[in-house]
């Protein structure tokens, strides 16, 4: 893991490449996280790729309810040569949840094909729209499902468990 000072230096370098790209840095439990601005994620990932973080291991989303901006997307990067891990985090609000997709190749560099299904999953579960994704459809839920299930305000759902004492209340439901 890059230590705390290494992380700060990295953040400074990236800010020089694209000003305003790095919003914040966190060093928690010996792992560094760079908080990025949503518009410059491709630039940052490509810059990190040049610095050795060539493997994108995971793209996942989260919902920071009730903090705003609510939706977050995390990119876990790995440097296989130095065995370093780094997290890229960005936040988007729920009203305008659009980010550039890192999957396709673009003019600013090759894409990350591994993010294909993972971005689709983030779209399916949280509603984050990835601009430029080759095939942004729901991946885990049925195609015509409404709602984004893993948002914190989406109900967990489920069936009431029917025991003998409450089965009359649920007459007609279940078996």
């Amino acid at each position: 893991m890059p230590d705390a000072t290494g992380l700060e230096l990295l953040a400074q370098e990236l800010s020089e490449i694209e000003p305003g790209a790095i919003v914040d840095t966190t060093f928690f439990r010996e792992k560094g996280t760079l908080h990025a601005a949503p518009g410059s994620i491709r630039v940052i990932l490509n810059a990190l790729r040049e610095r050795g973080y060539a493997s994108l291991r995971s793209v996942h989303g989260l919902d920071y309810y009730p903090d705003e901006p609510r939706l977050g997307v995390h990119y876990e990067l790995l440097d296989m040569v130095k065995v370093d891990r780094l997290t890229e985090a960005l936040r988007v609000s729920i009203e305008d949840p659009e980010i550039d997709s890192v999957t396709p190749d673009g003019d600013d560099g090759p894409g990350w094909p591994t993010a294909d299904h993972q971005e689709r999953e983030v779209y399916d579960m949280f509603g984050v729209v990835f601009r430029g994704h080759p095939d942004l459809r729901r991946i885990l839920m049925p195609e015509d499902y409404e709602g984004h299930p893993q948002r914190r305000d989406f109900p967990t759902g489920g069936e009431p468990v029917i025991f003998t004492y409450n089965e009359k209340r649920f007459d007609g439901g279940g078996s």
Binding site: P155, G157, G158, V161, S175
Partner: protein, 234 residues
């Protein structure tokens, strides 16, 4: 010493009785020897008892149910973790082939038992229902595991209990149920099959009159190749 041999007239009652004994029993003892315990029985009772000891009489229904129960063809329908325990049932420790059920058919048309093993998600439920409908009567279903019987460990938006969309005969609880537990469930089903020869799940579950609602407007697809009657004799 003089031995008096008298030929027995085959038309006498006694001669016929003896010959019927011998025919049925294949008795080594020839001649006018009747075992002591059967001496006082009349001819019909004797024959009756003899037949009962050796010949099985039954109704045709029962015979067919017996045969059907001992030759269930399960459909390969592994969904999740319970599928691994279902594979264990096929494996050698708990051997499902002992009972004759090892012929797992991949095609639902050839299967008559659907072992729903694993969690049924909302995307999968219509697929399961369609496969169940494709199976030919008589068909049975076992819901294996807690996830398809009730909601199991996951009581959330993504799972459907199998009772909601298809009729299940035996629920096997467990997460996952041990292979022995699944075997117990299958044997319970076998005894159900052998006792109750009603064909069709609609009779079994008192659901006569419930028919499938197909959408009235199915998209009509025209193929330029292969429709019977069309083409130029290729």
């Amino acid at each position: 010493m003089e031995v008096n041999r008298e030929p027995i007239d085959p038309r006498t009652l006694r001669a016929r009785r003896l010959s019927s004994h011998q025919l049925l029993r294949g008795s080594v003892i020839e001649g006018p020897n009747i075992p002591a315990e059967h001496e006082d029985l009349t001819d019909e009772e004797d024959l009756q008892r003899h037949v009962e000891e050796r010949v099985l009489t039954t109704t045709l229904d029962k015979a067919v149910s017996w045969a059907r129960g001992n030759s269930l063809y399960p459909c390969t329908f592994g969904l999740a973790c319970c599928a691994i325990e279902m594979m264990s049932v096929v494996a050698s420790r708990v051997d499902i082939a002992r009972f004759g059920f090892e012929a797992f058919r991949a095609s639902p048309r050839q299967a008559d038992l659907l072992i729903l093993s694993g969690r049924v998600s909302i995307k999968m439920a219509p697929v399961v229902r369609r496969i169940y409908d494709q199976m030919l009567e008589p068909k049975w279903a076992i819901s294996m595991g807690a996830c398809c019987s009730s909601m199991g460990v996951f009581n959330n938006y993504a799972i459907v209990p199998s009772d909601k969309f298809m009729p299940i005969d035996v629920h096997v609880p467990g997460c996952p149920p041990r292979p022995e537990a699944l075997m117990h469930g299958i044997l319970k089903l076998r005894s159900m099959v052998q006792e109750d020869p009603t064909m069709g799940w609609r009779e079994r579950y008192d659901a006569v009159g419930t028919e499938e609602n197909l959408p009235s407007e199915l998209p009509v697809v025209h193929h330029s190749v292969g429709r019977p009657g069309e083409g130029n004799g290729a």
